[in-house]
């Protein structure tokens, strides 16, 4: 079982993502996006894909936008096939923004397209802090099959605010379709419904703003109520169980 971790063009969390996977016994290869495009590495010969956090294309023109454009142009068929084959994809932070811009979370219901966007935090500031999240376990995903209902993870973003098209009913529809596995316990960035993560309808693709890869080892933890929390590891354990 070997995963691909995307790197290059401003992505910057590839090493800790590899370390997080390896902590649960998943092997991985860090691959430059151009090596996939130029077919030096073939996506579909791997078991899973992680698009890590970072500042692809310097966040110019909106975070994730230009990398998504590039993937759409050269790799979209392979990504779609990957999802169809039931292979898991995790987009963290900038990776989530890329997946969102690719439209993988969009769905059609009664001839209406439901989608959302990720934009600047309400106060327009980047923030790095650990935050409490609520897990909705009625949402089924390869990545969130664990029992904890409250978890701590760090957030590190300036453009993590989820805005649904038609705020009220858009959010309600995503929730009704069981596509929102994680919520912030407090308003950290102005997201509609405090949404912190979204899955696609297959449950194989998870996009999340918090960073599980940076909360995988006990050493990563901030001490909250004297407890060591490495809750991020659960996401990787979950996907390993799913694939085993």
């Amino acid at each position: 079982m070997k995963f691909i971790i995307l790197c290059g063009v401003g992505i910057n969390c590839e090493n800790e993502s590899a370390q997080a996977l390896s902590s649960v016994g998943i092997d991985s290869k860090i691959v430059h996006v151009n090596d996939l495009i130029e077919k030096r590495v073939i996506l579909n010969s791997y078991a899973g894909l992680v698009i890590p956090g970072g500042f692809s294309y310097g966040d110019e023109l909106g975070s994730g936008r230009v990398l998504a454009l590039k993937i759409k142009k050269y790799l979209m068929d392979e990504i779609n096939e990957f999802i169809l084959n039931g292979r898991p994809i995790l987009g963290i932070c900038n990776g989530f923004q890329v997946l969102e811009k690719l439209g993988v979370f969009n769905f059609n219901d009664n001839d209406t397209v439901y989608d959302f966007s990720l934009t600047h935090n309400k106060n327009r500031e980047f923030v790095d802090k650990w935050t409490l999240l609520k897990v909705d376990h009625s949402v089924k995903s390869a990545w969130t099959n664990f029992s904890s209902e409250q978890i701590y993870l760090p957030i590190r973003h300036g453009e993590g605010r989820v805005v649904f098209r038609n705020a009220e009913c858009g959010f309600a529809k995503f929730a009704e379709k069981k596509l929102i596995p994680l919520y912030y316990q407090s308003d950290v960035n102005g997201s509609d419904g405090n949404v912190a993560a979204v899955i696609d309808k297959s449950g194989m693709v998870l996009g999340m703003m918090p960073h599980p890869e940076c909360a995988t080892f006990c050493e990563h933890s901030v001490k909250i109520n004297h407890q060591i929390r490495n809750d991020g590891k659960m996401f990787f354990e979950s996907v390993k169980r799913y694939l085993s």
Partner: protein, 1005 residues
């Protein structure tokens, strides 16, 4: 050419808001991202497509490309456009071009970006000052004001002239060689130096003149077909190489130091043959001769100092300053500062990976009255906002965590802010081929490859400019904006190529551009030749000298073996990085520059590197000069009161002082956790509000041993310079050392970095203070040396910035406080981590000290109350006694006897206690011994002291270990109150909430 204007509006309600434009009233406004794109045959249908594929998001944005759309703009509004002057880096435009090329790869695109601000219901005059101050900087931005009813604005989507992007610039100077005649009078020599911004003094100009007039040299030049005198290229290369910035002439000068017989701390008259050799290198040599395990690996010749960490990896550390550029354009200056020091690390040894950034700012006080500030200066509030954003973007966008720093506020930093940018890197002990990671191997025949951005006229004369005083004529071409995205690609590519062993070694292009990087690398083989006409350029018309000295950013110079060249260049191409073969290393003895094959400079390396004449300085010390205010109206100065015994008030003043107040809001805007290795973070405690004394980085994710970690922190105490820079330096070293001890650092493995920022110590007619500044410098170096040797902590790297003066057009002089920043890096383990926040109710609180003396004068409280009496002055202290204490504390941390540690620094012991209490969200009850002097005990600042909390169970063992050094002050308790009682009198009784509110001061940041 068809030019299209694209405007990206936020949909209603998302971000429209108000903007504080300083003294102008808060204006209601909207901010719109705009672009011009240029392409020959852009169809309307294509335009429709790219509107939402590239520029905007359908859910959030409305993208306009024509004027006929139903946009609600009121005629009375003011439209302000802020774009870039040509030649200035436009990062958004570059990405727009890349994006368009992705969509339509067969076409050539050109773009520029700008912002449109719409202000409702106001007049141009009302907002003009604010716009120039807050939204654009006229050194780098083009700024226009229009009324929304103006025809210009109404028709803004039509009739657009060609974009003034870089490629349209054709510089007027031709590319031919020019000879500069030095066969002129002294006055004309000075004029040549001044008008070309060479920053060379008369003696140096004479040295160059004499060199070129020498018989042997002129004969050789005739043979080489070169003009007898220097070419402009040669003169510029020599000036860059000999600049204070590159050659550190002041630190190498012969100094005659004398002191008067009545000074307080006598150090003794002396003649110093180079402060650097005597006190910096000297200190390190001494330390290395007495330390048990010499962990130093490579010092004083590479871009950064290298020390050994474990059997797998070495650590490289470097701290730089970028003061001058940050004074002119705070954002661009700080951004290029941090990206520059990242490249320093990348250019160390065979290439080190940056793993952490550190930044320290010294700026004017934020409440400095606008009307007192010379009109050509930027207000400290704006300076801080800009430099903070620069360091933030530089670190965040490069994926390097910003883990440590400080902000210091003092009136005299108004003239020039100090922006210290530091980076820690990791390099493997050996590469796959067994080549040592710290080695710098260049062989004859290796190619000179320039990697990174193209060259423009930006940043010409950066090195020489930083060696001049900031004044109203400072050149704007010395200001640049960095491009973190391009640099991140370069960084990833180089580390990949390093691990594939595709190159031999490298260095960065920093100050002086190619002239410095190749000029220096050439010394490894004894020569190099480059052809600058091969360099990729941003626009045509650059002369050879401009190409050689341009400081265009994001570039590295790399030595590549011919057999690896193709593979190296192919990898670069696939990683979207520009790499160009521009020449060869040889052993000719010359640094030769060609342009289209023709030699335009050929300078013997020996003269280039060792020809600079030694400077001689006088230094005389008669005690501190009385400090004079540069305010026009003295009544604007803060008035000091006499302390009357109101301890509550004093504590609130200390906690609210900007130097003590929490900077959490701006620090959390830095990503401090990327790379997944920051184990002790800047903050700790229940609510994450407690401030740690430094950060700890786990080295396992970086290739180190499983539980290996480094502790990093810094120290500075510039206000002590007002009394004695000797003490300033010693206290700064102690603070840095004590900070790493407080987070679990090993006292027997500490490496220090010294960064001096000084007012000009060279005496001239305009600078009569020279000998006094030089004496301050000598004293600080002696203090630094003593402390380094005393703590057995080698100085592994450093830098100096010696022209931190400002002269305003109305004749006022503002000089920074002589400031020495000490950065400390220590070794620790993930098993002995400790933080600053109180942990448990009932824990005992101790002050643990080496019985070092306390002072109030020049401390925080001295800013509000009068403590000028000599009994409050800072005194000398014993480094050796402190070190003995630090070893005991380290052993107690390792034995896990300690719940929390906080060093006693700005504001004294009580503010340290309050910070730990806020972190733990717990109350505190303090009972001072009857005999103590509460004022000194609570607010005195000192070396060698900590506030440590220990659980009841461990207290016995702890007290036995620390003996008389630990004095119990009280305990951590339930509730929300801080109380201090002395001799049955309650001195302090304040709620944690009130203190927290005062201390966090959100509105300032």
């Amino acid at each position: 050419m068809l030019v299209t204007r694209v405007e990206v509006w936020k949909k209603n309600g998302l971000f429209a808001g108000s903007l504080n434009l300083g003294n102008s009233r808060v204006a209601s406004y909207q901010e719109v991202n705009c672009y011009y794109i240029e392409e020959k045959s852009l169809e309307d249908s294509e335009l429709e497509k790219i509107k939402y594929e590239l520029f905007g998001d359908e859910i959030i944005d409305r993208v306009l490309v024509g004027g006929n759309e139903d946009l609600v703009v009121n005629d009375s509004w003011i439209a302000v456009e802020v774009g870039y002057l040509f030649g200035v880096t436009d990062n958004s435009a570059k990405v727009v071009e890349e994006g368009l090329s992705l969509l339509y790869p067969e076409r050539k695109w050109k773009a520029s970006s700008f912002k449109l601000y719409l202000f409702k219901r106001c007049e141009v005059e009302e907002i003009q000052t604010g716009v120039f101050r807050y939204l654009g900087n006229r050194l780098i931005n083009r700024i226009s004001f229009k009324r929304c009813c103006d025809l210009d604005f109404v028709n803004r989507f039509e009739n657009i002239k060609k974009i003034s992007t870089d490629e349209n610039i054709s510089l007027s100077e031709g590319a031919q060689i020019r000879r500069v005649s030095l066969d002129v009078s002294d006055q004309e020599l000075i004029e040549i130096s001044r008008s070309r911004c060479l920053a060379l003094n008369l003696e140096e100009m004479h040295t160059i003149k004499n060199f070129y007039q020498g018989l042997k040299v002129s004969k050789q030049r005739i043979l080489d077909g070169l003009p007898i005198g220097p070419t402009d290229v040669e003169l510029e290369i020599i000036a860059q190489t000999w600049s204070e910035h590159c050659k550190h002439k002041i630190f190498n000068a012969l100094i005659d130091y004398t002191e008067s017989s009545d000074v307080k701390l006598k150090l003794g008259n002396r003649k110093v043959d180079g402060l650097y050799k005597e006190y910096i290198k000297g200190a390190t040599q001494k330390v290395r001769s007495i330390m048990k395990d010499d962990f130093t690996v490579s010092l004083f010749h590479d871009n950064a100092g290298i020390v050994s960490f474990d059997k797998f990896i070495n650590i490289a550390v470097k701290v730089e300053t970028h003061n001058g550029p940050s004074g002119l354009d705070p954002y661009g200056g700080a951004l290029t500062g941090i990206l520059g020091v990242n490249r320093d690390i990348l250019g160390t040894g065979i290439g080190a990976k940056p793993i952490a950034n550190m930044d320290v700012f010294c700026v004017g006080e934020l409440d400095t009255p606008e009307h007192e500030l010379p009109k050509e200066l930027i207000h400290p509030k704006e300076i801080l906002r800009g430099i903070h954003k620069g360091v933030m973007d530089g670190g965040n966008k490069s994926g390097i965590p910003t883990v440590n720093g400080a902000v210091n506020f003092e009136r005299d930093y108004c003239g020039k802010p100090l922006v210290y940018c530091g980076t820690i890197g990791v390099v493997p002990k050996k590469n796959k081929n067994g080549i040592k990671g710290h080695s710098k191997i260049v062989k004859c025949g290796m190619r000179v490859v320039m990697v990174g951005g193209a060259i423009g006229a930006d940043g010409i004369h950066g090195a020489t400019f930083s060696s001049l005083e900031l004044n109203q004529e400072s050149p704007s071409s010395a200001v640049q904006i960095g491009d973190p995205f391009t640099q991140k690609k370069v960084l990833d590519f180089i580390l990949e190529a390093r691990d594939l062993c595709l190159y031999s070694t490298l260095t960065d292009n920093g100050a002086g551009g190619l002239s410095s990087s190749i000029g220096e690398m050439a010394t490894y083989t004894g020569g190099a030749v480059i052809d600058v006409s091969k360099c990729p350029v941003k626009y045509s018309g650059l002369t050879p000298y401009q190409l050689v000295i341009s400081e265009s950013q994001e570039r590295m110079s790399i030595a590549v073996s011919p057999e690896h060249l193709n593979e190296f260049l192919a990898l670069a191409k696939s990683r979207e990085v520009l790499a160009t073969d521009i020449g060869e290393f040889n052993n000719s003895g010359y640094f030769e520059v060609r342009s289209c094959g023709e030699t335009v400079a050929k300078i013997p390396l020996a003269f280039l590197h060792d020809g600079v004449p030694k400077m001689k300085l006088e230094a005389s010390w008669c005690g501190p000069n009385k400090r004079e205010s540069w305010f026009l109206d003295q009544s604007s100065e803060r008035r000091k009161e006499n302390f009357t015994g109101d301890y509550n008030k004093a504590l609130l003043l200390v906690m609210s002082d900007l130097n003590v107040a929490s900077k959490e809001r701006i620090i959390r805007m830095y990503d401090h956790e990327v790379q997944g290795a920051t184990v002790t973070k800047p903050f700790s405690g229940q609510g994450g509000n407690g401030v740690n004394s430094g950060s700890v980085i786990w080295m396992y994710p970086h290739g180190g041993e499983k539980d290996g970690a480094i502790a990093v922190s810094c120290g500075l105490s510039p206000t002590l310079s007002k009394s004695d820079p000797y003490l300033m330096a010693k206290y700064a070293v102690d603070e840095a050392v004590r900070n790493v001890i407080a987070i679990g650092g090993d006292p027997d493995y500490i490496a220090l970095l010294d960064n001096f920022c000084w007012p000009d110590p060279v005496e001239t007619v305009e600078n009569p203070d020279g000998p006094y500044r030089a004496a301050q410098l000598v004293r600080s170096c002696i203090g630094l040396c003593e402390a380094s040797v005393g703590y057995m902590a080698p100085l592994i790297s450093g830098k100096d910035s010696m022209k931190n003066n400002f002269k305003s057009s109305d004749g006022r002089k503002i000089s920074v406080l002589p400031t020495l920043l000490i950065t400390a890096v220590s070794k620790t383990s993930t098993n002995s981590l400790v933080e600053s926040s109180f942990k448990n109710v009932g824990d005992n609180i101790y002050i643990v000290s080496s019985e070092s003396p306390s002072y109030l004068k020049d401390g925080i409280l001295d800013r509000y109350y009068d403590f000028s009496a000599s009994k409050y002055e800072a005194e000398n202290f014993s480094v050796e006694k402190n070190l003995r204490l630090y070893r005991k504390i380290n052993s107690a941390i390792k034995e896990k006897l300690i719940s929390s540690v906080q060093d006693v620094s700005d504001g004294g012991a009580l503010s340290a206690i309050v910070e730990s209490a806020i972190g733990g969200d717990l109350g505190v009850s303090i009972l001072l011994p009857d005999s103590s002097n509460p004022l000194l005990e609570l607010f005195g600042e000192r070396s060698g002291a900590f506030i440590i909390s220990v659980s009841k169970i461990n207290s016995g063992k702890f007290e036995t270990k620390l003996g008389a050094s630990a004095v119990k002050l009280g305990e951590v308790c339930v509730g929300n109150n801080i109380t201090v009682v002395c001799a049955e009198k309650q001195l302090v009784n304040l709620s944690l909430d009130e203190l927290k509110k005062t201390w966090i001061k959100e509105e300032w940041w």
